[in-house]
Point group: C3
Chain length 313, copies 3
């Protein structure tokens, strides 16, 4: 619902006077065009739309898990029609959003528009072909969650209720799109996920199968993090960067590998913070609230007290 | 709005080709039916619906606090009609959702359907009878919040703005339903609450009256936690489990008492983490960022420095 | 969508029986009117509405950043019409909400209604005149974010995806309204922001230009906090109060200065907690997870280990 749908009972009884409004509109124009211009490359006006991406996300969830996220009353006879129709509309809309994201990379000219059109189709076609594999990965994450949480009573409960599961679904979709070269849209999907789950996973991060975040609020997984198989995290865990490289102008270098590498079968308990391009070796357990800025070998058990001793050495 | 409501300006200009789409739909079918089947007991297709439960939650809020969450322009003459009508629709819709949750527990057959129908009616009828008592408890929580926060200027401000209050409202509704035997729906209500408040309270937890969470982001209250009267928590507090019991197969034991017991009149400051089936005695104060895995007697004051000394003993 | 819009497939199949419903409605009435009356000053029934304020927020975003948050397909010729129309509707609706907030301060009588009407118009007129300046401040925050995050690839990405940016937008709008004397509405805007970003900034806080919160989940900035220019915060940072003054009845004193002062060019890393009316001097760096309850001079670097030594002195 937009501003024209405000219910009648809230229709303004006192309008801002015409001349006053004109001054404000002129002031905003001056800010946009002269003093504080931020339009991409000066001219791009078509940007990916968060509201549409939210609907696209809903469509993808419904296609991947139609009984859980789609329509009820589906039968063996009708379910494929539902999935096919949903995907058809969703992928078409996604193509348009990806196209808009691609325009941000290129100056506006007719040739580029056509290229962005084709590139968007290619990206979405390749993404769509991956959907069965994405579903496989998500079901493996789902089973890891069920095994990893004593409070889980069914797979349906995990799929419908767990913010960690919801965040992983968004991640795997966004990650597939970013690997295929779609700009901006993956990060907007991650942003939608963060709004709903308070879990912040950069789409560029690499996360292996059977991944589970329990509770999850406050988890931050940085852009260049690498996570292996069968890893379990709890709430408030940060896999972050320790310091940022600067170039000769003092500006931060973009994209440097600067986040942790978490190997297979690691468990990281609530509140632990791991910073920098350090490695947590296979099978390690990082205790709650640990502050870790060094690598640890496979099979390590790091508690807060031990870690303080290590810091003091 | 569903996928068929995508606004015309975003109608897909490039459709995924028919044959390509058929392959994807077939791949998803294969995943759902053969390789990665997760449908509950193989066949359950009717699941509780999050969107509907959100509307039901809105209806319950409007019935409990009609001036704050319902309709404006209510008068002494009209308010009971509004409350009665809202409840009538809401409780009917809730009955259907509870019925779907009950079906998850039972194999699909006609006798069971009828039983689930009756059981859902019983549960919702008994829940509805508790609504005045639930309102009483919530008003007591509201007053505890107003007393406990120097920034609160009115009860209306707390009721309309405080995520901690919002989370407690969801908890007391979900808890009532779970005590009456409704499966899944309570956890879905808790999930809706967590999406909106970033506060994670398991509906099975037992929480006494006059409960206040200030700020609240990141609070986690585990499934078997027990909280007394007049308890106050701040943001990032975790009442969690320390380790999980495993059975002979190595699988985690579900449902074991494994979360803290917080006695009356305790205050737990921001970032404190309390793990395991430990007891925090009456009137204790747990300082910020304390990591506590042992019981403390009534009247304790635990700060980080003290706690580190205690850990080292 | 309200309770009357529940889709037909979820129409209640079993209605709560008439006599049972009457008892519940009577019980709720008794709670509202007799035992647990919370209506403001006993009678106020018109309160600001969160749903409407969410639309107003959308309208303000669209007026401030029309290409990013408004309509696509805007051109140089049409954009001012869009902005002017959006603002006209939005500011009118905002005037009504501010009026309702003002009614909470005053007993209900005809003279007061008229005063609230005028006061609301004055507040919103003065707020609207500040919109170009608010946009300026937000563009400066946007640029600070782009400079401060190695993962940011464009200003559009920051504006569309970063929860910290979203939270700052809400803060600067809410703060302008609270300085102009609007009650309740600023705090409701802050609450809407917190729901979406898990960042909790009290509208009364004073925050200087070029402000950036990276990641941001769990940040809490208290009512009387003062933040200078060019300050950068990370996730889970708390600028909170240490203890609350009580008056002679034991009730908490409302509004006392009790939160930190953060001077210019300070960086506060993830998880740091700073409590009390302490000052962090210019150019200081507060390391992650530091627990700080004392002032530090300009140019300080405070790490966890150093801080523990300082605590033990």
């Amino acid at each position: 619902m937009g501003i024209d749908d405000l219910t009648p009972e809230f229709s303004p009884s006192a309008q801002t006077s015409g001349s006053n409004l004109a001054a404000i509109v002129a002031g905003l124009r001056h800010s946009r065009e002269v003093t504080h211009k931020i339009r991409h490359q000066g001219h791009v006006r078509e940007l990916p739309c968060r509201a549409t991406l939210t609907q696209i996300r809903d469509g993808l969830l419904a296609a991947l898990f139609p009984s859980h996220y789609g329509c009820s009353n589906l039968t063996d006879e009708t379910i494929d029609y539902y999935v096919g129709h949903t995907l058809s509309r969703t992928l078409g809309a996604l193509t348009e959003q990806v196209r808009r994201g691609l325009l941000l990379l290129e100056p506006e000219n007719r040739a580029r528009f056509e290229e962005a059109d084709c590139a968007a189709c290619d990206i979405v076609r390749d993404f769509a072909a991956q959907l069965p594999a994405i579903r496989t990965a998500l079901v493996n994450d789902l089973k890891a969650a069920y095994r990893g949480d004593p409070a889980a009573t069914s797979l349906a409960e995990v799929l419908l209720c767990y913010p960690g599961m919801r965040a992983v679904i968004h991640y795997r979709i966004a990650h597939a799109l970013t690997k295929l070269g779609a700009p901006l849209v993956p990060r907007m999907l991650a942003s939608i996920s963060q709004t709903e789950t308070a879990i912040d996973i950069h789409p560029d991060a690499e996360i292996g199968p059977h991944f589970f975040i329990d509770h999850g609020v406050g988890v931050v997984i940085g852009q260049t993090a690498i996570i292996g198989e069968n890893v379990r995290l709890y709430q408030h865990v940060t896999l972050g960067a320790k310091r940022f490289a600067e170039d000769e102008t003092g500006a931060l270098v973009k994209g440097e590998p600067r986040h942790p590498i978490i190997e297979d079968n690691v468990v990281i308990y609530a509140g632990a913070t791991i910073l920098g391009r350090v490695t947590v070796g296979k099978g390690s357990v990082i205790g709650g609230n640990v502050w870790l800025t060094r690598s640890v070998p496979p099979g390590s058990f790091v508690s807060q007290a031990q870690n303080r001793l290590a810091e003091e050495e």
